[in-house]
């Protein structure tokens, strides 16, 4: 740890610009910190002189409810935006874990992908404008407050998923959509023999669920720790649509041999959020959580293979399969952090041999920095490095945190 390390929380774009420019000149390296919910992603910074917290950059900048657009400062929590939008029957499908802490800037910078994206689209596709501060203190805007805009490159989307290595997002403008009036959550046990069929049935429903998961482990989700897996399905829409979707879902699960389902109307979203929170729920130093993105039709197969592989390593594996999008969340753990440490790097190699894109999204195990936390870099990595060099030649921002050591 660096003795002169300090923490700053600038409260305006201008103040961010001044801070960054002075760090950049002085050769100080800066880590950008939002709500810390995704601190399990990425590599630790190579060196750290200043932590730039966005905690003082909060608040809604503009809420044009009749236009269905909203703008917020980078440090605003997702919960604050979602709650405000809910009062005007609108939403943006952020689906960020721990939304009460997660910030707009952090969620965008991490490129967070939520489970409802197959239905409503990615958060990046709601981002219509942004203000960013580059390492040299340049304040640059892109896009605006209109829902269609092709004036120049789509810089805002380029910042999504850039992990704070191109600049600090100080403002984000979103278009919103009408909030579905009703939600219903289904929970059901998913005995081993029913999994493949049930997931297949879910993916083929005519009225596609807003989200559907096969959860194995993660006992926090519904408070029981059975041996069986569980299916969690979120339906959203009008009353009439939910009626039809419910019938369809019941008979589909019945066909797959799923015994009984439990329906939650009040608190459906809270139940859904518990699953999303589990994506990054870690067991301190005893776990490492990966996220993989196979195509939907390969997801269950890949989850089953992962369980198999973990058994060989003698590690415990818990999975969440997002049936609609195909992602798999895999929490690898051992009761003893040392035992995990002894095996995790080999497991990481074995995993990436079959799933090169697997990323680490959570975990406090000390060996985490030695894993391929961003997966195997794609062939375009050199171009990405070049992009970083153009934006931040001195490597002032989050140095070494991103893919390929960017």
């Amino acid at each position: 740890m660096n003795a002169v390390q300090r923490r700053e929380a600038p409260s305006s774009a201008q103040a961010v610009a001044e801070l960054l420019a002075s760090c950049d000149r002085a050769g100080e390296q800066v880590q950008v910190a939002g709500g810390g919910t995704l601190s399990g992603m990425g590599y630790p910074p190579e060196r750290l002189d200043v932590t730039l917290s966005t905690a003082a950059l909060t608040g809604i900048v503009a809420n044009e409810r009749a236009d269905l657009v909203i703008a917020a400062q980078g440090g605003t929590t997702i919960r604050d935006i979602v709650n405000l939008l809910a009062t005007q029957s609108q939403f943006v499908p952020f689906d960020a874990p721990r939304a009460q802490y997660a910030t707009v800037g952090g969620t965008l910078a991490a490129g967070w992908l939520g489970p409802r994206r197959h239905r409503y689209g990615r958060v990046r596709d709601y981002l219509i404008g942004s203000t960013i501060v580059l390492a040299d203190g340049t304040i640059a805007k892109a896009g605006g407050m209109v829902v269609k805009n092709v004036a120049g490159y789509d810089m805002s989307r380029l910042y999504v998923g850039s992990f704070g290595t191109l600049g600090v997002l100080v403002q984000a403008n979103f278009k919103t959509i009408p909030r579905p009036p009703h939600a219903r959550l289904f929970l059901a046990p998913l005995p081993e023999g029913t999994r493949d069929r049930a997931c297949g049935q879910l993916a083929a429903l005519r009225v596609a669920p807003a989200a559907a998961f096969w959860v194995d482990g993660f006992n926090a989700i519904d408070g029981e720790d059975g041996d069986e897996g569980r299916v969690v399905v979120l339906l959203e829409g009008s009353d009439a649509l939910l009626e039809r979707a419910t019938l369809e879902l019941r008979s589909a699960l019945g066909r797959a041999g799923v015994p009984q389902t439990h329906v939650i109307d009040a608190g459906a979203h809270e139940g859904f959020e518990r699953v999303v929170d589990a994506y990054i729920a870690c067991l301190g130093e005893r776990s490492v959580t990966y996220r993989l993105y196979p195509p939907p039709d390969a997801a269950t197969g890949s989850a089953l293979r992962l369980h198999e592989a973990l058994r060989e390593f003698g590690l415990r594996g818990e999975t969440i399969v997002d049936v609609m999008n195909g992602d798999v969340v895999l929490r690898v753990s051992d009761l003893d952090p040392h035992a995990l440490g002894a095996k995790i790097e080999q497991f990481d190699d074995a995993l990436h041999a079959v799933e090169p894109a697997a990323q680490v999204v959570a975990g406090e195990h000390p060996n985490r920095p030695y894993l391929r936390v961003w997966g195997v870099p794609p062939a375009s990595i050199e171009r990405m490095r070049e992009l970083k060099t153009r934006f931040d030649p001195n490597r002032t921002l989050n140095p070494g945190c991103f893919i390929g050591g960017i």
Partner: protein, 486 residues
Amino acid sequence: MPRKNTALPNHSAAVIVKRPPKAMAMLRERLVEALGSDAVKTAPEDLAVYAFDAYTDGGLPSAVVLPSSTRDVSAIVKIARDCGEPIVARGAGTGLCGGAVPLEGGIVVSFARMNRVIELDERNRRVRVQPGLINLALSREVANLGLFYAPDPSSQQISTIGGNIATNAGGPHCLSYGTTINHVLGLEIVDAVGEVFETSIDAAGYDLTAAFVGSEGTLGIVTSAWVRLMALPESVRVWVAAFDDIESASEAVSAIIAAGILPTALEMMDAVITHAVEAAFHAGYPTDAAAVLLIENAGFHEDVEASESEIHALVSANGARSWRSARTKAERDVLWAGRKSAAGATGRIAPNYYTQDVCVPRSRLPRALHAVGDAARENGITVGNVFHAGDGNLHPLLMYDKRDRKQVAAVIETGNQILQSAIDLGGTISGEHGIGWEKREAMTRVYSTADLAVMARVRDVFDPIRMLNPEKIFPAGARCPEVIPS
């Protein structure tokens, strides 16, 4: 296909590039060697066909090539580099901002022969296509699987997926489905040195796909794309609401959006347009209304049905004087065909037209339309409005005769005033057609020097020597940020 959206004469920046005959012969020789003679055109009469898009004429390119593969494209780029020729990628040439127009000689790369579906992944609802594939051909090809490709520019019968990607094209149904960028999953790109690389929105690292979609051929050449397919909706309804004045129609649009209803499409046409459409196609629009809204809602039966009374109530409250529901698919199709061919139908009004494309916050639509009317009146220009109202994306069609220099000047002035009024209302200078050559100087009206310099950093990564579609998007002098007028 509708006639050309006419070039504004003397409006083109084309420089006649006289290259030494020996150099031209050498260029031809190398291209022929790499691609075969039937893929290379250098005769002036052949080149002329590639000198314009639907906005303007440029100069003649030095050569036109028709690659058949990614490898061909890569070879072309290397030859172009050696010979110091810029490259202009070209789809169908329906662009409305001079994007595909060569301005200083150069090699036009036409994707007419790279127009196939490469790989269809039905189960995961995605397809990999070549850039020259025509937009509508893709939807037709997958329709029997119950799927479609959502972005639907009105030019979809001839415009290409590559051109759509390069311009981030929109269309009537983008109100609910989003523009092209929401549907591109990954790209294969040939860069400015002829190297091939791929992008994917699911790969870790920077979202290069996002940088390339909408970059108008200035960052790289798209040689294939994975795009998303969607399931055809189980239920579709189309309604036409008629109004006695254009203000009420635009108030109705704002009211629908403000009520939190996002139909699948929400289009407006004024009387100038409906008259032209009816005269040409008999699509079924009322001709005694000052403006009509064409509204579509698609999705699940229950929701589509319920939305009818809600939307009907809102338009009635805002002064609609009639409301018609298309009863059959045939009726719906003909209404849409009329809408999508509207621009072409205006030939009866004036020999030429110019399409402006601006986007404003949706609640300001009434004011924006007012400003359009004022500008046209002030300059004595007939204007027809046909546009994506639900998105606040205006397309005033300015009618004129290009042989009349006064009218040309008046059209330019009107277009300019409309642009400025959109900016003043908090809008942007292009909602979907792009910047190209036409609006490059207007970029400084919405972006600061710093904003543009940041975009230029991206260009520096992929095309530092500015050989890919130079003279587009960035205002002249944008390479050195200091000289951009702000």
